[in-house]
Symmetry: C2
Amino acid sequence: MATTLTRETAPARTAMGLVDTDIHNAPASETALYPFLPRRWREYHAQFGTRGYAGGTYPRANPNAARTDAWPPSGLGPGADLPFLREQLLDAWNIEVGICNPLVGVNGTVIEYSAALCSAVNDWQVAEWLEPEPRLRGSIVVPYEDGDLAAAEIDRVAGDPRFVQVLLTIRTREPLGKRRFWKLYEAAERHGLPVGIHFGGYGGNPYTGAGKPSFYFEDHCGTSQVFQAQLISLVCEGVFQRFPGLKVVIIEGGFAWLPPLMWRLDGAYKLLKSEVPDLDRLPSEIIREHFWVTTQPVEEPHRPHEFAELLAQLNMPDRLMFATDYPHWDFDAPDQAVPRTVPPDLRRAILAENARALYGLRSS
Amino acid sequence: MATTLTRETAPARTAMGLVDTDIHNAPASETALYPFLPRRWREYHAQFGTRGYAGGTYPRANPNAARTDAWPPSGLGPGADLPFLREQLLDAWNIEVGICNPLVGVNGTVIEYSAALCSAVNDWQVAEWLEPEPRLRGSIVVPYEDGDLAAAEIDRVAGDPRFVQVLLTIRTREPLGKRRFWKLYEAAERHGLPVGIHFGGYGGNPYTGAGKPSFYFEDHCGTSQVFQAQLISLVCEGVFQRFPGLKVVIIEGGFAWLPPLMWRLDGAYKLLKSEVPDLDRLPSEIIREHFWVTTQPVEEPHRPHEFAELLAQLNMPDRLMFATDYPHWDFDAPDQAVPRTVPPDLRRAILAENARALYGLRSS
């Protein structure tokens, strides 16, 4: 359902207002965050750069991983020009609410620098996106490798109701169920904010258990394994028993791998529950209570009826949410993201209502 | 479909002769391989031990991961006593052919020591298992981290027709598609031997892209992600274009994750084939031509009809093969391994015929 690298999308305004749960707004330049950064870290950036771990990189021919038509006439980069984003995405597709997930690369460096960068990104979101465009909502980026600093940043900005979730990326230093992340979850739960976990990041580990692969193709397909690992860790470490109000959104991670993983976890639970006594019920029950997933990318089955089978096996009709991934090259247009075989009620739920319910968005 | 840690299995002799594709025979003691090892490495073992990477370890209460009833009266360890294995597995379940996959921990150490250990294990298999028990077949263990040494060991013993495959474990230093493994595949193809890849091993990497998890439960469920990574690597690196006769068996890796992975790979192929021009057709076509899978463990869907959906989505009816994993605790008895909803023809194919065809076993 993704468009190709070169294809132009053909907007077709839909009657209902949509909620797009994955928009990548971007700083206009390397120094666009400087007004929001303390002098110490402005100087650090100018002298030393970001110094993160090596992570996934997009194809060189398309360093921003952007749709070819997403470069604004202003000369700014894809996702960096609000009027153009407004026109090309929000107006063109009748998107009533769009959730910004800025991917600025704020983790994996000196941790205090991460924290300063996160504060800068959050303040920049308010000033340059949420203030001028009421259809947009923000995600709180946090220095997630340190639970205390992450919780402090959540506490600092969560009072602004335009922030509707906390944003992590999927590649972390250690699995997300571990104790180092618990204060982050505690803060998110305290403020009633879902934790969104997006494709990408820089954890310092190869993203497979067999070492570092060669191709971007492998990165693109293989990252869904990291989502699987993180979900297993969150469940097995008893995170949802400790934070029963915690909600987690898997963003750009696919979801067809989720039914077989639930089967596997439930089977193991019956045999090995003595090792994980914090788990008070089947892993699949915990997952269906605490997880949401997004549509981009949808793993397209080979035969159309298999998509209906997949949705029935998933059995999370109120948890699947539409996402464009604008302005990235694998953008899903609203008229492509949900196969035509999906019944109208479920289609509406996916395109708007599930996200409204999760993020507490008013219906207009 | 696995038995529990304490449950005793109730043999029910089946009318048809079965082929068990995953039996773990074991050395009787730490020194049982010494008669097959050169003096240098006997002394090395006695003085320094194996010095492998840390890898997955079984629960302490059950260090051999064995069924509680699999400890022979002789006092030997599970899988180490041929007369007992004969009685408890081969006779009891009417297994006409059983394929030995000895998991002795022969990789991840000094590479020349790995090579010597592999030769010892292969010679020990012939002397202590294949000679006295004509129903058993052997798997050639190889020092797979070095392609030349692995190919040399294959060449050394492949002339013995009782060896029916080359055996790797899934956790390797680097992904299995890489050039360092190609001579191994070339040798396997030259001798017409499938390459079986089994759960386990010691690659030196955490087995998730997010670092090292905490629990055995996570290891037990998460290793299927490593299988996914290895399959992606084998496909993307063009291994099957280079070695068109190569056949790969996924052993104890599950298979319910395979349909969604094929969907994901095919979707990516349409968008990114310029990066992997060696691939001459859809990844799912390559996979369905070159891969086999085994039944233990089967990820059991929540509703019985979903198993039929899974088999249809997998669409590899001649590639699924029965395995007990004897004597391990998650042993699948023949009357449990295949759900009752599976039609008789397919059941026969899974329980015997598919393995006969792949491994060239005579029907009796």
